[in-house]
């Protein structure tokens, strides 16, 4: 068995506002192996994005153990790449400069790597284009390339394809799987799309709201490349859906106050 890249034990997160205390995450336990592809799915408000921000080091006010490669997470670092829901490119920089970010393109090594990544995300010919000239899917591919340039051990994706149309989304999923197979980067992918979760993940983490906690973790034992139309995929999807519906029933009975 390969090394555990990410270890989360008894993670609790409480948001305090002047009026109330909201338990965002309760007793989260999760272990992610090096090179594993994990998808996290759950209804909105289940704390899946909060969990991802904590792993990214963007939110450091939590209780419990969150370790990446044996190191407690205390802030952002280059080992942890983060893809936001929106591409968040710098509008004043061209595609290649956006990917390079704080690194200089004058350095032939950086330049070479940037262009290699542009090929990987299939954006050849757009090196000098500005973000306003890109479609949503293209812009999100730039942001993925930007994260990959830093050679992260783990890539955290917060509903990255949520704003894209169905065709572009399935294309992007294939691009991402291709990257994962090439680079062997550990992936944690948050989504609210059941199909996406089953299509991408080796394990699907199902979360439940109020307070946010992990309901179950289901392994998806289907080999890549997966076919959505295959019987095995449909069956797997149904299993996850069943689990998911149990979550929804529970959350409706618990959250009867609405």
């Amino acid at each position: 068995m390969s090394e555990r890249a990410l270890v989360i034990e008894r993670l609790n997160k409480i948001f305090t506002t002047p009026n109330e205390r909201v338990v965002a995450l309760r007793e989260i336990d999760l272990q992610v192996k090096q090179g594993e592809f994990i998808t996290v799915i759950g209804p909105s408000g289940c704390g899946k994005s909060t969990l991802l921000k904590i792993v990214a080091g963007l939110d450091v006010e939590y209780d419990g153990k969150v370790e990446l490669n044996g190191q407690q997470i205390k802030g952002p670092s280059l080992e942890k790449g983060f893809i936001f829901q929106e591409p968040r490119l710098f509008p004043w920089l061209t595609v290649e400069k956006n990917i390079a970010g704080d690194q200089s393109l004058k350095d032939p090594k950086v330049r070479g790597k940037v262009h290699e990544l542009i090929r990987l995300v299939k954006l050849e010919g757009f090196e000098k284009a500005y973000p306003k000239e890109l479609s949503g899917g293209m812009a999100q591919r730039v942001s993925i390339a930007r994260a990959l340039l830093r050679k992260p051990d783990i890539l955290l994706l917060d509903e990255p394809f949520g704003a894209l149309d169905a065709f572009t989304r399935s294309h992007m999923q294939e691009v991402l799987l291709n990257i994962w197979e090439t680079n062997k980067t550990t992936m944690i992918f948050v989504t609210h799309d059941l199909d996406e979760a089953v299509f991408l993940g080796q394990r699907v983490v199902i979360m439940n709201p109020r307070p946010g906690h992990i309901k179950s973790v289901l392994p998806i034992e289907l080999s890549f490349p997966r076919k959505r139309s295959s019987l095995a995929f449909q069956e797997m999807r149904r299993t996850v859906l069943n689990e998911f519906e149990k979550v929804e029933e529970e959350s409706y009975t618990v959250g009867a106050g609405i």
Binding site: A56, L58, P76, S77, L78, K80, G81, F82, F84, E86, R88, F90, P91, W92, L93, G101, D102, G125, F126, K128, A129, Y130, P131, K132, E133, L134, S135, M138, R146, R150, T168, H171
Partner: protein, 276 residues
Amino acid sequence: MVSTIEKNIQVATHKRQPLISRVQLRKIMLGAILPVGLLVIWEFAGRQSYLNPLLLPMPSEIYHEFIYLLQHGGLLGHLQVSTGRALTGFLVGGGLGLLAGILVGFSYKSEKMLDPSIQMLRMLPHLAIAPLFILWFGFGETSKLLLIAKGSFFPLYVNTFLGIRSMDRKLFEVANVLQFNKWNLVTKLIIPSALPNIFLGIRLSLGVAWLGLVVAEMMGSTTGIGFLINDARAMAMISTVFVGIIIFAVLGKLSDSLVLFIERKCLRWQQNFRGG
């Protein structure tokens, strides 16, 4: 399907345009309709003796006066002096305004400390301050320069400050994830995002510099376009007054267009509504 769209975009990004395209020519003509039409009516009214030539000389007379001043009245010399004053004042005042805007924009403490006082100074009118400058520094160049600098300080200050403070938090988060150091944070994120506002500040500051120049030159000077106007007014040489006024208008517009041109070059990445 996707690839053809991408190719089209690619073609669009790499297409180069001639220096003045047909569209631009049409735009220039659109802008010229109003002033040219006005000139024609004005000239016509003058020739029909509807206008009192002592108060409103015809455009052709103003033109002849302009040529005369150019050849015998040392107009170019006055022009040079005025432009020099406006530019120096703008550079001093605008430069300080930019620096102060950056300082106050970056630091909450310096905002609380400096901004109230600066806002108070901003409200002081030129004409209230001018006598003080003259008392302190005499009628020489220093008081004129200070007056112009005082005017051009504030627009750049206010807009630089605003530009820095209106930075997108989401992009700041990206820079945090990518571990930008302080220097890159400033040069790659904060300055570029403040640039549209800074350019607006430059344009407003330049405009105010020209306004300050007139006040400064009319108050006591023996050179410059402002002096030319004031002197001609005293002698009731109405055509000369008009030449001076038109020169101010043209110079102001030219300097504004120059900044706008540079702005367009620097802010090519922006996508804004350009009017329907």
